[in-house]
């Protein structure tokens, strides 16, 4: 999908990819086998085309009450964050999730945001990479995440950590939502952004196994592209 196609004129909670759109209905209380089956299928379809990552990844998932949102955007943040979680569960060899706030699965947003303690919990298990997925509103002991992040090298921890901003749309202003400016930052608002996110994560664990994963992904993508191109040239 091109950048133009990714950006609908009007972004709504249900035009940011099939996974989050289905999750929105589940969050709104639409519990049905049809929705759950569709969700499973959408995750399968999406992950089939995405790179796989070898290694032990810790996901710090912010499910605090601010990720619920309000008004017409209610559940938009949490649904896209959980969509990424579901994709990571399929694409990562080993994924451990540390939910910050929230309750249940998919987590219903509740509680406040304590990303610093969740990060320390995640690091305890010695992962190869920590991925923090959050709306960026850190209000419980604000500033603690940055404090912890800057203290890690001296504490002998050099695990790569990436902060992934979960946004409603491409136009979100993140100026008040950056609790750890010293961390590498990624952003996503649409399901189609997951590929870039996963590729960035893949580069953070540059093992031979992941180089092979990258090569395989690029090869498959090239093959798909060549097939599409040959079909197009045959028609034209």
């Amino acid at each position: 999908m091109t950048g133009e196609e990714k950006r609908p004129k009007t972004v709504t909670v249900t035009n940011r990819g099939d996974i989050s759109a289905t999750l929105i209905h589940l969050y709104r209380g639409g519990k049905s086998i049809e929705l759950e089956e569709a969700l499973y299928n959408y995750v399968q379809v999406a992950t089939a085309k995405l790179p796989k990552i070898k290694g032990k990844i810790a996901l710090v998932l912010d499910a605090s009450i601010s990720t619920r949102g309000y008004g017409e955007r209610e559940f938009s943040t949490i649904s896209q964050a959980v969509a990424l979680q579901m994709v990571l569960e399929k694409c990562c060899e080993e994924l451990e999730t540390y939910t910050c706030g929230g309750n249940g699965y998919p987590p219903m947003p509740e509680g406040s945001t304590d990303l610093a303690i969740s990060l320390l919990d995640a690091l305890n298990n010695q992962p190869d990479l920590v991925v923090i997925v959050s709306d960026g509103y850190e209000n419980v002991y604000a500033g603690d995440l940055e404090k912890v992040v800057t203290a890690l090298p001296a504490a002998g921890i050099n695990t790569p950590i990436v902060f992934c901003h979960c946004k409603f749309s491409f136009a979100d202003d993140l100026s008040l939502r950056n609790p750890a400016p010293s961390l590498p930052q990624l952003e996503f608002w649409h399901q189609e952004d997951f590929e870039d996110v996963l590729l960035s994560l893949l580069f953070k664990i540059p093992t031979p196994a992941n180089q092979a994963c990258l090569q395989e992904f690029l090869q498959e993508k090239l093959t798909r592209f060549e097939k599409e191109l040959s079909a197009w040239t045959a028609i034209n």
Binding site: S64, I65, S66, G69, Y70, E110, G111, S112, T113, D114, A116, I117, L120, L123, N124, D135, Y137, N139, V140, Y141, A142, G143, D144, K147, V148, T150, A151, L152, A154, A155, G156, I157, L176
Partner: protein, 332 residues
């Protein structure tokens, strides 16, 4: 009830404090009540109060459409309405189920046309902290333009046009102010909050039920205290310049030092609360405003704190108490 007994009813002892939340210059300390005797008796201001009519400048009517439940009008509640005049109230009041109440002492916060109001188009706010004392002092005075001078001054402070249009702040800055409801997080079962700006008491808000508080939370955090915080953030140098770091040689030590720094922060908050509790015990001029069965609505006017509260036989039901400009601007 004498003023000593009344002040006892605003003691914070029956409330449990949540973990403080901080964003920018504002700190919010969530309050939880250990007992909830008021469930089912009160309706929230969003679901239980509708602005049914503005008869003329300064005269507006509220309606409690609920089938059961008393509505306590939040102190300094105001309405923004498309194609009609925006008004705010200078006082709280009681409305029983099905009751209509005309406020003849409402203040116009926008010089424009009056008219009949469609309920679905309205949203409400609480007057910015900077206007609250003046508005409270003007309760009972029937003059629609009575708050225009104060609004003009506030607009000037924000560098906006010098006129009595509050929508210059609450509507045009709405996108920024709305962010306060995400920057701070309402917690499940939360019955109230203490607001601090630059670690100084700004307001104490207590609702009869968690459902009520959840309905008044956004207007409070965004438009009442949010406007005051926005002003401070725009006009004062950030105090976060000095980097606050933790030195630790391993993960365990890092966690311990983080928790230590949190205990220190918690201690600072405890001191702020202690300071508030002694401030609350100061002398007030107390006026009983209204009764509803055993409920009493009082106005408190003190040097440092003013506001209104509702009590029932000495038990606090609702409170909206705020720092006076004199207290708020004094150096601590």
């Amino acid at each position: 009830m004498d003023s000593n007994q009344l002040v006892k009813s605003i003691e914070l002892a029956p409330y449990r404090f949540g973990v403080p939340q901080q964003c920018g210059v504002m700190t919010v300390l969530p309050l939880f009540a250990s007992e909830s005797n008021f469930e089912g008796r009160f309706v929230g201001p969003f679901s239980g109060l509708k602005l049914s009519q503005v008869y003329t400048y300064g005269k507006m009517e509220l309606f409690n459409p609920s089938e059961s439940g008393i509505a306590i009008v939040p102190l300094h509640m105001g309405y923004i309405q498309d194609k009609a005049q925006n008004h705010a109230l200078c006082r709280s009041a009681f409305l029983s189920q099905g009751q209509k109440l005309v406020f003849e002492d409402a203040c116009c916060v926008q010089a424009s046309q009056g008219g009949y109001l469609e309920g679905r188009e309205q949203w409400f706010f609480i007057l910015p902290l900077q206007l609250r004392l003046e508005a409270l002092k003007l309760r009972g005075q029937n003059s629609y333009s009575k708050l225009w001078d104060a609004i003009s001054r506030l607009n000037q402070e924000f560098g906006l046009a010098n006129r009595g249009h509050l929508e210059q702040i609450v509507s045009r800055k709405r996108a920024f102010l709305n962010l306060y409801q995400s920057r701070f997080e309402l917690l499940q079962g939360q019955r109230g909050a203490i607001f601090f700006i630059h670690d100084k008491f700004a307001g104490l808000e207590i609702a009869p039920t968690a459902a009520y508080f959840s309905e008044v939370w956004m207007p409070l955090v965004c438009f009442c205290y949010g406007v005051a915080a926005m002003y401070e953030e725009q006009h004062t140098a950030s105090s976060d310049n000095a980097p606050c770091t933790i030195q630790a040689s391993n993960l365990l030590e890092l966690r311990e030092k983080l928790l230590q720094s949190r205990r220190k922060k918690q201690h600072q908050i405890d001191q702020m609360v202690n300071c508030l509790e002694s401030t609350l015990k100061a002398k007030y001029e107390v006026t009983e405003e209204e009764r509803f069965l055993s409920l009493r609505l009082h106005t408190l006017m003190g040097d440092n704190i003013a506001g209104q509260l509702v009590e029932e036989e000495g038990k606090l039901v609702y409170a909206s108490l705020f720092a006076t400009p004199k207290y708020f601007s004094a150096k601590s």
